[in-house]
Every structure is written in structure tokens, then in C-alpha cells.
Symmetry: C2
Subunit: 112 residues, 2 copies
């Protein structure tokens, strides 16, 4: 598990509705662990486990100021995930465009 590549860690972290909800909350504003825990009807250890997965994927950052521990979302991993998805959507769509172009050429040839 420790040798997983960053993109796998990011996608795995996003593959859970509670973790996505935590990120949704943090995309509005940074929050303390307590504020995040309040939103979910699950145990503190379960929240803690989810936060660990998000932190390991680089999707959140914990900062400590005096006794306050704040969670902040980090967008770099979202950029990385987005780049991968967009690349593959684009390539597949371009393939369709090429196919369409090819079909048009074929039709023109047949018409002649």
C-alpha cells in the first residue's frame, strides 16, 4: 500500500462518499476536525481514518495554531486527477472526430 502512485492514492481517496463530503465541506471553508465530525453521524475514529486517507493523498492539509487544528483542502491533487480524466475524454472524443472525418471522406468518394 505504501508504494502506491500519487494518482492511485488520489482516486482511492475520492472513492468514498464520506470523504467526498468532507472535501465538499472544506471546499467552502477550512474547518476544525470537530466541525467536520459534527456533520457526519460516524464515530471519531472513523472520521480520523478518513482524514488520514485524504491527507495521504495530499487532498487536505492539517495546520496547528495554538490548540486549534485546522483542515484545509488542497487543490493540486484535484488538478492532477482532473488532468488525467480530461486527457482521456479528449483522446476518445478526438478519435470520434477522426472517425467522423473518415466517414465523410468515404461518403464523398462514394458520391463521385
Amino acid at each position: 500500500m505504501t508504494t502506491k502512485d500519487s494518482l492511485s492514492l488520489i482516486f482511492a481517496a475520492l472513492a468514498d462518499p464520506t470523504r467526498r463530503n468532507i472535501l465538499s465541506r472544506l471546499s467552502q471553508n477550512p474547518a476544525t476536525v470537530g466541525e467536520v465530525a459534527e456533520l457526519f453521524e460516524i464515530s471519531a475514529p472513523a472520521i480520523s481514518q478518513h482524514l488520514k486517507v485524504l491527507e495521504r493523498a495530499g487532498l487536505i492539509e492539517r495546520t496547528t495554531k495554538a490548540q486549534w487544528r485546522t483542515l484545509t483542502i488542497r487543490t493540486e491533487p484535484l488538478n492532477e486527477a482532473s488532468a488525467w480524466v480530461e486527457k482521456h475524454r479528449r483522446e476518445w472524443n478526438q478519435r470520434f472526430d477522426r472517425l467522423e472525418e473518415h466517414l465523410k471522406t468515404m461518403t464523398k468518394k462514394e458520391e463521385k
Copy 2:
């Protein structure tokens, strides 16, 4: 596992380098299972397992024509994944914009 929401299935399917490589291959062109298997130095049952995960997430489609079984990428789940990631990138960036706006207003007030 069977009750997982579609977005969790999609992200979980993307959370593996071999599965992402299979999708990369298929984003270029549809291929047979054999053609996909050739690209990876892993066992046929392992490939089969990866294909099942991709299929369950709706990321690939199997079609059978005569004895040929073809795998095709499907972009709808990529659109869904992309929409989620983009929404959260955007919200966080807008938060930064609002913060910047707020700081500008504060600075102007101080200057007066």
C-alpha cells in the same frame, strides 16, 4: 460492495495504474481482451478482474460480434468524475477570489 454509489465505483476503478493503462489503450481504439492482455505482464485472471472492475464502473463496454469480443471505453463515467472534481476545484478557487476581494477592500479602507 454492491451498494456502492456510481461515483465511488468510478473513482475506485481509476485508483489502479493497470486499470488506468487499460483505459489509456482503449481511449486510442477499441481492442479485444487478447490485445489488451498482451500489453501487460500480468496473468489472464488478473486482467479479467481489472476488466470486471472497469465494466462495473461503466468505464468500458464489452461487445461480442461473432467470436470477437471487443472492449470499448465509455466516457459518461469520466464526465461524471470530471464534473465532481471541477466543481470542487472551482468552489475552492472562488473562495480564494472572495478572500482576495476581501483583502483588497480591507487595504483600501486602511488607506483612507
